[in-house]
Subunit: 345 residues, 2 copies
């Protein structure tokens, strides 16, 4: 209700002085400052953010556009972002694109008008909002992608080497003696998923079989359908190990297999991706390919702030993290022969 003008009037000073009290308190005389502060308290004055930002041209909030907040992976990334933002007293605001390209488009449009300090985003798909993102950048709003975006020519990005992740998965499962391996995941238009599968496929030799179980999405529900398909395969040809597109899928597969009487890892081993907290906490603790989730968010934020400060002198960078295997029970050494699968449901 009350503006800086009111405060000035009540304190008997000019608006400039009030502004100084707010922004450079030590360039105003102590007693004047006290008078102004008293007026502020008396009126319950609060700065108007819009006016402030209009004048300043830049905001103090950074926007995160998450692909799917229902996936704990993004929540962890978010912690990293918040940690980095806290240092500079920046506010983090989160938007959820829910894997919906239209929604994403609307959000970006809004952000273009709002002009946050920077944007961190996992785009719904590769080409999608390419030009809209470019427009943000050309307006001086740094954009950092959480994305394996080596194919994108410009802009900063942080990512995890998903091909390597897939490879680690494959090597681990082979080493455990598995020869029939399944990959459960999709859609393959999502780069990460494609890469994980390709990494896995790349390390398999001729005498090993790879069964791909395509899924329309990566969540617990689709994981269960994958589990169902696996359980229904004849034991003689059933894969002895499943590498899942992410941990949600792995959880679904685990739950379905368990319910149908198949033992994990004895009958079927399961390997997830992301290493979310639920993975370690599952009924059978899940082995998983860990992504440095908080660090991903942290690094992206730092890069973004760098770009925001350096302005045009900024050099874009791509930081690629290495994933690592976390071994738990779900891929432990088998107690029975790999081939001797038991009857199920």
């Amino acid at each position: 209700m009350s503006s800086i003008k009111e405060v000035a009037r009540v304190a008997g000073v000019s608006v400039g002085t009030v502004s100084n009290v707010l922004n450079r308190p030590d360039m105003v005389a102590p007693e004047t400052r006290d008078r102004v502060l008293a007026a502020i308290a008396q009126l319950g004055y609060v700065r108007n953010g819009s006016a402030r930002q209009l004048r300043a041209g830049r905001s103090r909030t950074i926007a995160v556009v998450a692909l799917d907040l229902a996936n704990p992976f993004f929540i962890d990334v978010l912690s990293g972002v918040e940690a980095a933002a806290q240092r500079d007293k920046l506010t983090v605001m989160v938007f959820n694109s829910s894997k919906d390209a239209d929604r994403e488009a609307r959000l970006l449009e809004m952000l273009e008008e709002q002009r946050p300090l920077g944007v961190l985003i996992t785009p719904v798909n590769d080409r999608g909002q390419r030009e809209r993102l470019d427009r943000l950048v050309s307006r001086g709003i740094p954009v950092v992608l959480f994305d394996n975006s080596s194919r994108l020519s410009h802009g900063c990005a942080v990512a995890v080497d998903d091909v390597l992740g897939g490879r680690l998965a494959g090597l681990h499962l082979r080493e455990r003696g598995h020869r029939r391996i399944a990959f459960a995941g999709g859609p393959f238009t999502v780069r990460q998923v494609e890469d994980r599968r390709d990494g896995l496929a790349g390390v398999l030799t001729a005498d090993e079989t790879l069964t791909v179980i395509p899924l329309p999405d990566l969540n617990v529900a689709t994981g269960r359908t994958a589990g169902q398909k696996i359980a229904e395969m004849p034991p003689a040809t059933r894969p002895t190990a499943v590498f899942c597109g992410n941990d949600l899928v792995a959880l679904g597969v685990l739950q379905e297999l368990t319910q149908r009487g198949l033992r994990v890892p004895d009958d079927v081993a399961i390997l997830g991706y992301d290493d979310i907290d639920f993975a370690a906490a599952a009924a059978v603790p899940l082995s998983s390919i860990r992504q440095p989730r908080e660090q991903l968010g942290h690094t992206a934020t730092v890069m973004m702030l760098e770009e925001a400060n350096q302005g045009s002198r900024h050099q874009h960078r791509h930081v690629i993290f290495q994933p690592e295997l976390v071994e738990r029970t779900s891929t432990a050494a088998m107690r029975t022969e790999p081939k001797a699968a038991e009857a199920a449901t």
Copy 2:
């Protein structure tokens, strides 16, 4: 970079006309409009949100301050909010207080400056930011609490009757023949948790025992410690059923019990709260007390918008939803005698 003035110059019209093209397109002559639109396209002009909001005084975004984004419950509530917001083309921005009162305070401070259209919040604790919330309201920003806030005298709120939820839980477990029941949850400074426990305690009779396992927080990890405690109790006095403060705890309990060789529900039944998707998808599908999550968010948003439109003529309301029992396997009828618990660990 380019403002409305540039556009006006390029199109050869006044700024007022450009503004009209943007806001009331049909009160400007078609050919003028086309000229303006062309200029806009040519310059890549985008409205400046801050200026817009400064002038308008009100924003088109609603702020949600979630208590804990890591709990899928809030993500579901969020969907409800987004659904309601979409109708009016409003943007939803999410903030995470992470159960941290300081963080919450900083967020509210920031929101006071930013002046969103409205605020939906689950406060960290009852008394906490009371006056800060009041200040928002007195500034004309409607605040709706997701909270059983019957004790709060003013402001709108939506909530679920947690005492009833606890009662439903108790009645169900008794009906299933359980006489030794545990409640796992905390902290009891959180109203919801307190109410759930009290509801449960209220329906138990003298010959039934209630063991409270206090937890510092409601998540999978604390759930596991609760599970551990239960597993280590002597079978003769061990509770035959656990009612958990929420589903995350229930998942933790389930996983720990399962790993220690106790069967669910035969040795110990488990009942959760919230009915998040993970509950139905657990290795042993969890019975749970369902809260209408999306509807909670939806209703809160509608109430908030109502208040935003009606202004001072608005009558605050408290909407209390009824929770309901969802029966699944984790509290199914026991195959063995309730007293005859098996050896564990």
